[in-house]
């Protein structure tokens, strides 16, 4: 009798499946601007809460999904130095975000991640930090900013320059106003236009704020920029004029992603997959790969 041999198997690892999302609950939400909403989200499985919220890097992103509406990448706005929850600042632009804006506190969303390289924060230890954010770019930068503030002693001088179109479009205004009071770091806010005339700070594009940047050690500075695509060119010009080298200029980029794990290909630029090789790139990467910004 012929012996039946099983040499093939077709089991999918069900528990380890990185495509399978984890249930999370919206614990807090409020509007940052008229189309950007802040979401604070807590993983439902108590065993995973601390594990997930302490083991990520500023600048990483999560894949957030709502069944039927789909899944998309969102950068984490919170910092691993303040664990327990994940925070996101999300603009309503499409089908998934439209559905997300319908959700209430205590409703579920689904998360996978964190994904992406994140900012090499350890490599930035001991350096001066120069943050430049524009508009919604303040969302991913908030993660690394909070991280740096919570590890203040590890860094040199710190500047944060933030520009938005109008006062209504300034994200985290209250937090920034608190930061203005700190004497261990300089925060400067500006808006392009102030139609109401109530804006107490500067008016002008974000590059005008470089006048406040003094006495940084350009050979020992990490410059970080995030904002709308049009902004990069001008801000990078300022960085270079200050004398900061290409490999110390960091930016975090946005692309469409369907897996977060370097497979689906939709975030590909040149031969880099933004989801695993990015979303944080240096100016050197950007120049070599081309088409990144």
């Amino acid at each position: 009798m012929k012996e039946k041999v099983e040499i093939l198997s077709c089991e999918v690892q069900k528990e380890e499946n990185p495509y399978k999302p984890e249930r999370a609950r919206i614990v807090r939400k409020y509007d940052l601007t008229n189309d950007v909403r802040f979401f604070q989200v807590r993983i439902c499985n108590p065993e995973k809460v601390m594990e997930w919220t302490t083991n990520y890097k500023p600048g990483q992103f999560m894949m957030l999904s709502i069944p039927n509406a789909g899944e998309a990448p969102f950068s984490i706005t919170s910092s691993p130095t303040r664990p327990g929850v994940f925070e996101f600042s999300i603009r309503k632009v499409g089908r998934l975000t439209g559905k997300l804006f319908e959700l209430k506190e205590n409703d579920f969303v689904w998360l996978r991640g964190p994904f992406g390289n994140g900012f090499p924060v350890e490599r930035m230890w001991g350096k001066d930090l120069l943050f430049v954010a524009g508009g919604l770019g303040a969302a991913p930068l908030r993660s690394v900013l909070l991280y740096a503030l919570d590890n203040r002693e590890r860094f040199g001088k710190m500047y944060y320059l933030y520009g938005a179109k109008t006062p209504e479009e300034v994200l985290f205004k209250n937090e920034f106003e608190e930061m203005l009071q700190r004497d261990d770091f300089e925060c400067h806010l500006t808006v392009d236009k102030d139609p109401e005339g109530n804006w107490p700070y500067d008016i002008g594009v974000v590059t005008t704020q470089f006048k406040y940047v003094k006495d940084i050690d350009v050979n020992n500075t990490a410059a970080i920029v995030c904002g709308p695509p049009v902004m990069y060119k001008y801000v990078i010009q300022e960085f270079l004029e200050l004398g900061i080298s290409e490999e110390n200029i960091y930016m975090t980029l946005e692309r469409k992603m369907k897996c977060g794990m370097g497979k689906c290909g939709q975030c590909v630029v040149g031969h880099k997959y933004t989801c695993i090789d990015g979303p944080v790139f240096t100016l050197w990467d950007v120049k070599t790969i081309r088409n990144l910004i």
Partner: protein, 348 residues
């Protein structure tokens, strides 16, 4: 590598005997072309060269459900099937090796992995036609990535054993194979010489990554872009194209949601479109440039080899003649009579 020989008449009974491991698939005729189909091995056409769609369909199916969402919970879903695939040529196996490296790097794709573990790969030698150029991409022979590999000589097969699974299979069927003789080796060497002389594509692939990199701003991309139909055929037929899209679908019959993935293409407009409406590659020329730089330059720097295995599928599939060969000809200043190169498309 262990090598045996098999009488020609034994191939069909041998393949039939493999049904115990799973469905046996092989190349069968469809119109003037070939497809991999689950048929009786007698119907397999051993002269088949390139199938319309490459064997990647077994590992990343055209469309598949990966997750289900029902009653508030997610469930892993897989359509994985045990299969024996017969008739893969060296270029096809090289492409699967690239697939393997890609789908297991950094994060291991569990669906790919289970499909891979559920599949026996049985290679088959081939004699090139005028579109084959695996000799230029260094993929005309293959050393790994198969369980067994059959080389068809005049009056016999030589069977190369590529894995412990392949060895087990032959051990259980020792009555169908014999040891090889000096004569067999001589025949094989003769056959290889004959095969090497059959390649017809006269083109140099040397220095290609540098040439493509340096041609980033060439107007050749615009010329091609003007003719490109963005039909995505090149990416669907390319054995090393890996991209997919993910989409949720609600099934009202079963009252459950399916999260599906399906083949997708960087030639499609939506591929580079982000929420909010910005498109990073609005122009067709930019999409084509992405594809070719990814294949010919990107893979080179990442894996040491280009992601072109010389199968010739794009050469015979693109309606407007955009393919690796016509692009290399254009970039290296060779004579090029592809449709896109000789036609002036009147864009409005």
């Amino acid at each position: 590598m262990r090598v045996f020989k098999m009488k020609k008449g034994n191939i069909v009974p041998f393949l039939r005997s493999l049904e115990e491991f799973g469905e046996v698939w092989g190349p069968v005729k469809k119109g003037d072309n070939y497809v991999y189909a689950h048929e009786d091995p007698e119907k397999f056409d051993l002269s088949a060269l390139r199938t319309l769609i490459p064997a990647k369909k077994f590992f990343l199916p055209q469309k598949s459900t990966i997750l289900k969402f029902k009653n508030g919970n997610w469930y892993t879903h897989s359509d994985c099937k045990k299969r024996v695939i017969f008739g893969l040529h060296p270029c096809d196996i090289h492409a699967l090796n690239i697939y393997d490296e890609f789908y297991t790097r950094v994060y291991e794709d569990p669906y790919y992995k289970s499909n891979k573990e559920a599949t026996l790969i049985i290679g088959l030698s081939c004699l090139p036609d005028e579109h084959c150029f695996c000799n230029l991409t260094d993929t005309s022979t293959v050393e790994k990535g198969f369980d067994l590999f059959f080389t068809e000589l005049e009056d016999k097969f030589l069977v190369w054993v590529g894995s412990p699974r392949g060895d087990d299979i032959l051990a259980k069927r020792s009555d169908m194979v014999e040891d090889i003789t000096k004569e067999d080796i001589k025949d094989y060497i003769e056959w290889r010489k004959r095969r090497e002389n059959m390649f017809k594509v006269d083109l140099s692939f040397t220095g290609l990554p540098e040439i493509v990199s340096a041609s980033y701003d060439s107007d050749i991309w615009d010329k091609m872009g003007s003719a490109c139909l963005s039909c995505g055929t090149c990416t669907m037929v390319c054995p090393t194209c890996t991209c997919f899209d993910v989409e949720d679908e609600y099934d009202i019959r079963a009252d459950e949601m399916n999260r599906n993935r399906k083949w997708y293409s960087c030639m499609f407009r939506e591929y580079s479109l982000v929420a909010g409406g910005h498109n990073f590659r609005e122009a067709r020329a930019e999409r084509l440039r992405l594809w070719y730089t990814h294949k010919l330059v990107g893979f080179m720097s990442e894996y040491g080899d280009p992601a072109c295995v010389g199968c010739g599928r794009c050469v015979v599939s693109c309606p407007v003649g955009i393919n690796v060969l016509s692009i290399v000809r254009a970039l290296t200043g060779e004579k090029n009579d592809a449709f896109w190169a000789k036609t002036e498309v009147k864009q409005i």
